[in-house]
Amino acid sequence: MGLTTSSSPKPRRNRWQSLSPRSQAFQQSGLGVVLAIPLLLILVGLLAYPIFSATVLSFQSKSPGRPEQFVGMANYLEIFTKDSAIGDVIVNTIIYAAVSVLLKTGLGLVMALVLNEAIPARNFFRGWLLLPWIAPVMVTALTWRWMFDQTGGIVNYILNGLGLLDIPPAWLASRWLARLALIIANTWRGFPFFGVCLLAGLQSIPTELYEAAEIDGASTWQRIRKITLPLLEPVLLTVIILSTIWTFNDFTLVWIMTQGGPSNSTHLFSTYAFWEAFRANRYGYAAAVSLVATPLLLIFIAALAPRMWKEEE
């Protein structure tokens, strides 16, 4: 079921036939359903019902203290025809997710390849490189906000010291620099996840393959391209899809570093929905915003399901 084992399908067999009659009776007793009841309550009450009610809400107009009113497609129409921010939200969400995931994949791959070599204290370094991922997101967001600070931040200090700029830019106040800053922060936080997962994937590749390739005179680059990448593909794709879903739905980094600004240029669907719900008090509209990207999410889930979910025997 894990990322690393999903690439090696086990032969299917009927595990129930080998069991004693007593076990079979027990397996078919009603106790199984009873044990699953708490889970079902959570799934229905706190996941299915809220998603259902969000869908209903997205066709309504609702603000605090007022009863909801059915407005049909009005919220969705407004999103696509009148909302001047939504273009930025869509563009930014896609850029943020795509570029961050790309960078995390690259950096994670480098981390995994380096840690897969015979270096001293390998586990120590693996742990050390996981540090960015260990820090609470709030801490990451705050620290990077401070690092990108115009006057006291270390980024401008270093760029200035290298003689790269005359006037220190206000990173988080400029549309594209703010986007870049967020992508850097997200990449920093997320690459260790890729690194550790891909390392586990690399370690399952038999070394004989590399030895054979070496005898055949394959270069390092050829070995990476012809052996490592193809055999790593199942893990790589799973991690990429999973991370795309998470990055797409990120909230904390953006909310803390820019709160969607300057002029809505760094909003994600989540932060924009939060803004509409709790700053503009338009719950119905906010629900519609939070659901607009659902078709895209469903595509990702459909791609992920056969990789991560295996049918029960």
């Binding site: 990322l3 998470w246 669907f269 719900a277 719950y283």
Partner: protein, 281 residues
């Protein structure tokens, strides 16, 4: 290994260690910067003559933090919330994972698929309806309300992770216990729980970590501010006109230390959980 069985040349080694050093620097530097800022006060924070090193390091920011904010209370609330949510989620998901792996009933496959589905459903889609739901039953701004909301991510990934773990346990052992007259709950208690202890530890650590780091739900469901977690308390610094970066970085250090300790002592479980695809990155 890509370098093959040959001993790598000196040049290859230098490239390898160079990349490793760059990665270590990248991973470490923001923490150094955080720590250094937290030990500077007043003008030193913005002094360009002491950016990477500092004279007169002081714990003043930490003292001010303890004196002027409720940070110890935030730590306590965050820890209590994370612990309560984790214990409840573990109980629910242990029972559920046992049910799905060892019993047969109609809809079992569907339940396991629903667990996968709820595991990938983002919180960003849930916070508005959860807010309205909890508001209706007067649980907004309450401890219980947050614990319930946290179940939406704790339960799916604990169940998900335990499912993977429970499946690997030898069924012959359970079968033998049943033949010897063990009850079904006895099998869970005497056979499965001891064998699955590492998996349960992994689930517990991740659940606790996720709750400790959580921000979206507290921001949406505990807006009144008297139930402040560390995330919410720290985000409050950003409301004022002047950012006291020294104090903010001190608070960041305080929020990081428990996670760091957890990680140092339980790294094995963390890495295992990560590669099982159980956590956000």
């Amino acid at each position: 290994m890509i370098s093959g069985s040959r001993r790598p040349t000196v040049g290859q080694r230098m490239v390898l260690y160079g990349i490793l050093a760059a990665l270590v620097l990248l991973a470490t530097f923001p923490f150094y910067w955080m720590l250094l800022t937290s030990l500077k006060t007043g003008r030193a924070v913005f002094d360009t003559t002491q950016v990477l090193l500092a004279r007169n390091l002081t714990l003043q920011n930490y003292m001010d933090l303890f004196r002027t904010t409720g940070i110890l209370r935030w730590v306590w609330i965050t820890a209590a919330l994370a612990a309560a949510s984790t214990v409840i989620a573990l109980i629910i998901s242990i029972l559920a994972a046992y049910s799905i792996t060892d019993f047969r009933y109609r809809g079992r496959k569907f339940v396991s698929f629903a667990v996968f589905l709820s595991y990938v459903i983002p919180q960003a889609m849930l916070f508005i309806p959860l807010f309205l739901l909890l508001n209706r039953v007067h649980l907004v701004n309450t401890f219980l309300g947050l614990v319930l909301a946290y179940q939406t991510f704790c339960v799916p990934f604990c169940t998900w992770l335990l499912l993977g773990y429970f499946r690997t346990l030898p069924k012959e052992l359970k079968d033998a216990a049943l033949i010897d007259g063990c009850t079904p709950l006895g099998v869970l208690w005497r056979i499965i729980l001891p064998l699955a202890a590492p998996g349960i530890a992994t689930a517990a650590i991740f659940s606790f970590t996720q709750c400790w780091n959580e921000f979206l739900y507290v921001a949406a469901l505990a807006q009144s501010g008297h139930l402040k977690t560390l995330s919410l308390g720290i985000s409050g610094f950003l409301v004022s006109d002047i950012f006291i970066w020294g104090q903010m970085m001190a608070a960041a250090i305080i929020a990081t230390i428990p996670m760091l300790l957890l990680f140092i002592f339980l790294q094995r479980f963390v890495v295992q959980g990560l590669t099982m695809g159980s956590v956000k990155g």
